[in-house]
Point group: C2
Chain length 399, copies 2
DNA sequence: CCGGTTTAGTTTGCCGGATGAATTTATCCC
DNA sequence: GGGATAAATTCATCCGGCAAACTAAACCGG
């Protein structure tokens, strides 16, 4: 007899799962709601019976994932509703980031409040991974201790890196701008913080923060212009991960295949990366983005031409993305967020010209609004999502 | 009071849905299995209790969606298992296609057998949509009548078109190579066949057939080289639809942004479309692909160069796709399937060179194997999927 | 101040459906 | 013919969502 290969059993419905699933529905309904909903509103909006919701909410309150607010005085007749909101300071997701110019931590609770944050600015190019990870651990460990001392449960930790991270097996594959390659980041950090972190691409996590900042399950392509150019695809508020978490590598799109001997000479990163722009603008490679912005402010012709050329490449690359994954909005973050006013028109023009569905569904180009160090926020949110996706399962692991 | 906006209630679990959902799990378990499974195997592989599966299977047999096969003589002790297989000739999906050179119908049952098929070859460029749809209806109507007379229930119909179709609202937006624009295809065909067809992009449906032919939920980027160049992204056996069903427009990827006055002069379709290849090979634009193949067979230098150039553009475009959506396999269909031996090496080389994750997860380039007119097959499968996704719901609509 | 009205939340009995154990069925093997 | 073995069915149980009844807490009008 052929051994009955166990297929993915996630699709089957069991009653044991039913309650777990609805617990998640209730929790997300409360966390994602624009206004604190009452039990009755929740029942109506999710299509569950009031009795069912009451039981679920009781469970969530007992688990300190949800709290009841004071009934607000309403002018209507009837018993006043008890508004429900995510609990504050009871669970934290911890986002960490190592990037070319800095490293840091940020802890966020279910209500979205920042509970702790530390950033160290430093040039980390070509620093030893081991050294850097020790520094990071030294930054993170006290945060974790302090949170736990305050009764905060740690939902998890997540590290953002500017490189290719294998979602399935964990190790960092390559981070060109850090000079890292095949580093077992998960193992190292686990040893140092006794927490197994998720590790993910910086742009993917930044896009997650961006999606969160925009509420309501938006869909967009996110471009993160740092030293390299990363990106991510967001669909209905969810990061599109691909098989290994290697999706969204927009910087490696080739927009000029016949430019140099190697096809990669025509990649977006080669044409519109920070180094390329500075060089084309006639600035020294050690210059920072501010220098370019200053030059643009005084209408320096070389700077203007450099940015125009980069914007054209960016617009063409993003048009390809839109044609392939059918997203209707493009969000420019990092460098391109700062250069937004200088690139917007060209990017929008290329999208209008090249995206086949533009006549029926015009594309929108907007700047990122997730604030500073979005990848740290996104990492914290990713860690918290463990709780939000299946609170019942998470509570069992905590007990 | 703010009206409680009804959110997407699909996530909540109710017991009424539980049985429906598991009925689908059981049916798909039988249809997708490589070998006809017994009730006991099904229970083991899906993680359901044997009692549960028995009940579900009884229901499916009664609904004529599943049949019991003769127990095969096995040499083991114990009561022999009753193998279960999809029923034959009880339900049909009907796929239709209008393309530049032909139009046709194909009806397929749950077992994957072709129950009926008709194709008419003709040059349909610039033909009136109304005329063509009448011809199609004249081809389809007798098929539907005949099937129904034989007791076959029609799960649905689906039409493949070489253009941009709005998944949400229905009408064809634009089919450049047919010369159609903003045609209400659904309404017209509904009036003619009294069936509301799904309408979808030809490449997306062809990719669906390709995924079906490869069993086991493969992930790949599909390229359909017809007169234009279409494509689709397949993830875990599912077509990636995008918001409107407009994803996978690989032909509109720009690989040479600085080639001509318009950026679209450097699109893949402009560089590697059938017309472009024929022109570059020095063949008249009225020539067909066979002429190019003949020229290649005798090592004609212009033909060889033309195909090499096209293959380079194709490889570069597909590398961008792989970088953005993290797929590990590329399937070449249509023209590129016929040219497979002449383009494979160049495409594979560009992927190896440009896809950032290639060193850790090498890319595979393979020819399509879904047979002739894959979009017709894909359309039939798409129609059948209504039954497979939620058999209980479908049975209710039939009653 | 009190009864009526309205809305929120809880209690209660019911019911559908998954489940595991026990039972029946059908085969092989000695 | 009597185990042994495996498949399929039967049956009592249990879990959890549900509708309806009920309680709670507000407003309002007299």
């Amino acid at each position: 007899m052929p051994t009955p290969e166990p297929r993915d059993p996630s699709r089957v419905a069991r009653q044991a799962q039913m309650r777990d699933q609805n617990l998640g529905v209730a929790l997300r309904g409360i966390v994602d709601a624009p206004e604190p909903p009452s039990r009755a509103q929740l029942a109506a909006s999710e299509g569950l019976a009031r009795a069912t919701v009451s039981g679920l909410v009781d469970h969530l309150i007992e688990a300190r994932l949800v709290r009841e607010l004071e009934p607000t005085p309403t002018l209507r007749a009837g018993r006043p509703a008890v508004p429900l909101a995510p609990a504050r300071g009871t669970v934290a997701g911890v986002g960490m980031e190592v990037n070319v110019d800095y490293l840091g931590v940020r802890a966020i609770d279910l209500a979205g409040d920042v509970l702790a944050e530390h950033v160290e600015l430093d040039d980390l190019r070509d620093a030893e991974p081991e050294t850097v990870l020790h520094r990071l651990a030294a930054l993170v460990a006290p945060v974790l201790d302090e949170l736990r001392a305050g009764g905060v449960r740690i939902a998890g930790t997540a590290l953002a890196l500017p490189g290719l991270v294998d979602r399935v097996t964990g190790p960092l594959r390559i981070a060109p701008n850090l000079g890292w390659r095949d580093v077992d980041v998960v193992g190292a950090l686990f040893a140092l913080t006794s927490f197994p972190p998720r590790v993910a691409n910086e742009a993917n996590l930044a896009a997650r923060a961006e999606a969160h900042a925009r509420r309501g399950s938006p869909s967009f392509a996110y471009v993160s212009g740092e030293v390299g150019i990363g990106g991510a695809i967001v669909l209905d508020g969810e990061i599109f991960p691909g098989r290994h978490g290697w999706s969204g590598e927009i910087g490696h799109i080739v927009v000029d295949a016949f430019r140099g001997p190697r096809a990669s000479d025509g990649s977006l990163e080669a044409l519109a990366g920070q180094d390329a722009m500075l060089r084309a603008a006639g600035l020294p490679p050690t210059a920072r983005l501010d220098a370019l912005l200053d030059a643009l402010a005084v209408d320096d012709p070389r700077a203007t031409a450099a940015v125009a050329q980069a914007a054209r490449a960016l617009g063409v690359a993003l048009a390809s993305v839109a044609n392939v994954v059918d997203v209707g909005e493009v969000v420019l973050g990092g460098t391109f967020g700062q250069l937004f006013d200088h690139v917007h028109d060209e990017v929008a023009a290329r999208l209008d010209e090249l995206v086949i569905f533009a006549p029926w569904s015009p594309l929108v180009v907007s700047p990122a609004r997730a604030g500073q160090y979005p990848a740290m926020t996104g990492g914290a949110l990713a860690a918290l999502s463990t709780v939000l996706v299946d609170p019942a399962e998470w509570l069992r692991t905590q007990a």
